[in-house]
Symmetry: C2
Subunit: 449 residues, 2 copies
Amino acid sequence: MIDKKEEIKRICKAVIERIKPKDTERENVKAITNSIITNLNTKALELGITANAISVGSTVRNTWVSGEADIDIFLMFPTDMSEEDLKEKGLTLAKSVSERYEERYASHPYIHAYFYAAGTEHEMDIVPCFAVKEAALLKSAVDRTPFHTEYVVQHISGLEDEVLLLKQLMKCLGIYGSEQRRKGFSGYLCELLILRYSSFVALLANASQWQYGVRIDLEGHGKYRGEEPLIVIDPVDPKRNVAAAVSLYSFCKLIDTAREFLAQPDRKFFMPREGKPMSEAEIRKLVKARGTEFVVVMFDAPDVVEDQLFPQLRKAEASIANLIERNEFRVYRSDVTVEDGKAILVFEFLVWQLPKLKQHMGPPVTSEAHAAKFKSKHSPPYLIENGKYAVEVERKYTDVVSLLEHELNSCSLGKDVSESVETGYEVLKTEEIRGGLGYFFSAYFGVPV
Amino acid sequence: MIDKKEEIKRICKAVIERIKPKDTERENVKAITNSIITNLNTKALELGITANAISVGSTVRNTWVSGEADIDIFLMFPTDMSEEDLKEKGLTLAKSVSERYEERYASHPYIHAYFYAAGTEHEMDIVPCFAVKEAALLKSAVDRTPFHTEYVVQHISGLEDEVLLLKQLMKCLGIYGSEQRRKGFSGYLCELLILRYSSFVALLANASQWQYGVRIDLEGHGKYRGEEPLIVIDPVDPKRNVAAAVSLYSFCKLIDTAREFLAQPDRKFFMPREGKPMSEAEIRKLVKARGTEFVVVMFDAPDVVEDQLFPQLRKAEASIANLIERNEFRVYRSDVTVEDGKAILVFEFLVWQLPKLKQHMGPPVTSEAHAAKFKSKHSPPYLIENGKYAVEVERKYTDVVSLLEHELNSCSLGKDVSESVETGYEVLKTEEIRGGLGYFFSAYFGVPV
């Protein structure tokens, strides 16, 4: 056991050495951040805009992984300003200091800007928000962020390395980030987990025992009630579960990996997966060995942000799987992805072809009126099965490709997906699968960590 | 409407003319019956056996269909006699008057004898029973029969033709007879139905409206409670449902036919189905058109009476269908039959082949001890699906024939069927189906009446 503890220590130390930003990186990030903040505040004065620029996020908390600094600058506006004004003045101010930028939109508009300094390009989000008095009084979804930063800055000192280890592990597992595509653990959530358990290893030891509904309440707020697998009450907003976005899968994946790592510690847990895409030939060979059939539904990804797109794709996946099963084919597994502007739904089948014949059940024999109606619609012979009439009819779709080619629009697909599908979609079988799905399939077929 | 009523009358009259025994047949049956009864009573005296032979059944009630007289003679023994004695003395007496006979056994031993008289061979059952005081005090299952005969003889006068029509219809529908193979309407039940509704047409008019649990209680006994579709209290034994053996199918088939006949009266309802057996080529052609696959399980019919065999075959059918569905194949329909000493189970399939791959679900990820056990048994990768571990394993049986060839004995088959299956069985696919199933398949594929 002592050996294992030592081994874990040695691994963690080596990982930290690799992923922790060196002094130069740290100084560069601080320098560029401070210079932009100064510029923003100066410009605000010049333009007569009542706003105060502050730095938030992992670069302030010293919890960013080397080479992956996400610089977040928030423009704090008075709460009595209208949202209209906030948006207009915020974006004007942000643009005024940016050489090269994009306007982006999540639930809220912001500027994603690029700055070149000390031989490196830095990316940065400049986000307007309201300077609310406390997090619970938020007027827009991003107003909580400064409070999060403040809370973490106050408490995290000395635990930054532990946070880095956890973030790196989550990234390698593919469960880092609370966006809809991922449904994993946000950076703030990682920080709170480390604050709760005081170390990366202690967190893993605890996570390996987690049960559904495990509850972490750093400030003893004690109010939140919810059905999520993991409940972490926001220290700055008692009504909010910071882990609300964590899916059942992400929750279980952390539990499983915690046990795996503690039992057999290894550096590979902290190495990004190679993400080697499978070639078309490899995909076909593997599918042949499985004996299943794949069908891919592909259409132009609607022009909405991923956080709006992915819930719609998941909904479409469930709705199409339902259509398929109603037609008596059998789905083995399915998944969705977005690649190169294409939304892609992948279904793997146990049963993808069926006989022409189909039994169509009618009303109970004892219901005279319904029986008459049924007989007027269908030709004899009328079978009687379990007290009900039945006729044998021709199945409309004897293979799943023709079903999907004709009936996809009958599914409940979500507004944007539905609009895109109406402009056209492709249904491909295994042998028609083209490049671009290599990454997807290497993940789908599951390489053990 | 008047036309339809007249049409029905005309049809019924014609049918009666065809199926009602002529005077000669009637006289012959009475003569041979009386002569055997006299012989039996004389022999009883000679042999010192205290027994009294009487005639029961449809020949006494004048409700037999021409050419199908079932002569039933009962030997009434005192109730204080032991079953052992009843059996021994009864069979001795029956054999003493019979030229050619077989010993048969239902729940009760009896003699099936052949007599030649007036140019015709007559078959006859000679059955020993106890002369109980009332039907409810029966000591053996057949003791009620004399009471049934007495009741019908007392009430049926003038309605015999109506009974004949009903019996003939039931025969043509394949729902006449209460034996386990058929689960239809017994002769006595047909007579009681006519007594209740006073005519064949009135019975049909009522049957076309029947709901589950319809209750007929000629003597107002009012005691019986049961879940059967049709309840007809035995006038001579209030605790008994004369229709207990009527299956859901037989019940529904009568309802459906009643409506069909009244809507479009036709003589064909009273014509025995041609029962033309399908040839092997016809079967194969039809199966190909259906696109399904048939698998036939065939073994030596165990040497027990049909009333014991058929419930076991039905049980085996359900148990095997369950095995098949547990292995993820899909049964479309199934049936059982006995032909030429072979017990035959026929399964028609929607899905009879499956990919090699199979997902094997493990314990919830949160159950640490079960998880460890699962992982020690199965190789990675471990998938996580809906909070549970899963591994992909090789399916043991990728086609249903190999499943049945290897696993039939794991099914719960009933004692006699199980013993026979253990001595060997065959599993045949469509193209291997041999002759002998032609009648079965012509019924299975359903010719409209």
